[in-house]
Amino acid sequence: MKRITIDPITRLEGHGKITIFLNDDGSVANVYFQVPELRGFEKFSEGRPAEDMPQITQRICGVCPEAHHMAATKALDELFHVEPTSTAKKLRELLYSAFFVTDHTTHFYILAAPDFVMGPDAPPAERNILGVIAKVGLELGGAVINTRKQNHWIIQTVGGRPIHPCFGLPGGVSRVWQGIA
């Protein structure tokens, strides 16, 4: 049986492989999607201090670390039976909102848009973020880059670091809001 292998799957976070089996007439007999990666967070998180989980589990995905950081931080709230203060909740929400913006630019402009802006038949050398910037122009491309920069700045200012923030603690966050210098 003829097979087509797509390895790796591209423009997404993570590792994947697709195998398509074709019948003699060229129609699809079956398709298999495989995820060939495993790191084992389920095991190696055991024995680590609970309060380190926001910083450990966010290494599951560095494209959306804020989501994992926040989930683990909320789990700590539950574990310690503490309700975050209103200020802490707002700071967490501010960070998460900034993440929401950068993550959408990641998803749209880098991962998905090349298929729509450049078209699915464009050569791989053009069907990507740099091809998108070349096509939509530097003004729009620059605006996207600037949006990412501003929101990374917010994530760092609130959460300590622009990627893999460090501010989540049971019942709140690690830093006092001192306004924007």
Partner: protein, 319 residues
């Protein structure tokens, strides 16, 4: 001048290094002027077969992130090494194993048991584990072999440069890219960062005398915002960690966890930290010292948070 050809790859990693590469922001346009990216799974649609077809040494530099966890990671490390004139271990996973390297406290079977049998969300009554080859009605499928031990990139192939950080900060990434673009490359083996010294050198917190009677966990105290965190009893790793990030975590009132790796000349970051700790414990009474040390939960996992595979220990012995 011909444009540089750059390849980027992720092995056992989280994708944070890809976002870190993008986090050079407007400098991306500068990079695009002087370099073509010939392989980058998160951003470009080139496949493994495209890399296999490249001439050896036809890529000027490969920024390789991620640890070597399975057969595919190893294959890609060797393939990209052959295709690239310069191999750069970009980020803590490729450099020293990082968080995925904590897996070296266990082995493949213990990991598989937990992941595929024991986790509460798993239902696997037939106890099926991943197989490298499986027969399906249409033919055979394969997946890469999952190794017992996580390795670093340099334990797998020859590496020219190391870029520290989980992930590398913007300024660190640009320092490495600038060296590539300008052709002014440092000596082989250099860890590319703005500092060769400990993070404390660039930390704005004030240091006085390091005498610790009790260690605290980050949720137990509200630290003084101006004073050294280690002096306040928090296990801040800055004393044994290479600087260059700008001391971001301590400025957010959180201890450094050591992601920039050991300072220049140190082989084992965990042992270095242990040595530093032993000199600051403020007691000569063995029983009191024991009590103070007992306050440190999970010392091995904390001291080797990012560097277990690259340490002298490399892994735990499983009986």
């Amino acid at each position: 001048m011909a444009k540089l050809k750059i390849a980027l790859y992720w092995a056992a990693s989280c994708g944070g290094c890809e976002i870190a590469t993008l986090a050079i922001h407007e400098k991306i346009l500068k990079l695009a002027e002087v370099a073509d990216i010939v392989f980058w799974p998160v951003g470009l649609d080139f496949k493994y077969a495209d890399v296999e077809r490249m001439e050896d040494n036809s890529v000027d530099a490969c920024l390789f992130n991620g640890a070597i966890r399975n057969e595919e990671n190893e294959y890609m490390a060797k393939l990209l090494r052959a295709k690239s004139k310069i191999m750069i271990a970009y980020g803590s996973c490729a450099y020293e194993g990082c968080i995925p390297g904590l897996s070296n406290f266990y082995n493949r079977q213990l990991t598989f048991d937990r992941v595929y049998i024991e986790t509460p969300s798993t239902e696997n009554p037939k106890k099926i584990f991943p197989q490298t080859k499986v027969k399906v009605p249409e033919g055979e499928l394969d997946i890469p072999e999952f190794y017992d031990t996580v390795k670093t990139l340099a334990q797998t192939v020859d590496v020219d440069y190391f870029v520290p950080g989980c992930p590398p900060e913007e300024r660190t990434t640009w320092l490495a890219l600038e060296a590539l673009i300008s052709g002014k490359l440092p000596p082989k083996g250099t860890v590319i960062s703005h500092s060769v010294k400990a993070l404390c050198e660039e930390c704005p917190r004030t240091r006085e005398e390091k005498k610790v009677k009790k260690f605290y966990r980050p949720y137990e105290i509200i630290p003084d915002p101006e004073k050294c965190l280690l002096e306040q009893g928090l296990l801040c790793y800055g004393i044994a960690t290479r600087g260059g990030c700008g001391a971001l975590c301590p400025q957010a009132n959180m201890p450094c966890t050591g992601c920039y790796g050991p300072v220049e000349g140190v082989i084992d970051q965990g042992a270095h930290f242990l040595g530093a700790l032993s000199s600051i414990i403020d007691s000569n009474d063995p029983e009191e010292i024991q009590r103070i040390i007992d306050d440190i939960p999970d010392p091995a996992g904390t001291f080797y948070r990012y560097s277990l595979p690259d340490s002298l220990l490399r892994r735990a012995r499983i009986k």
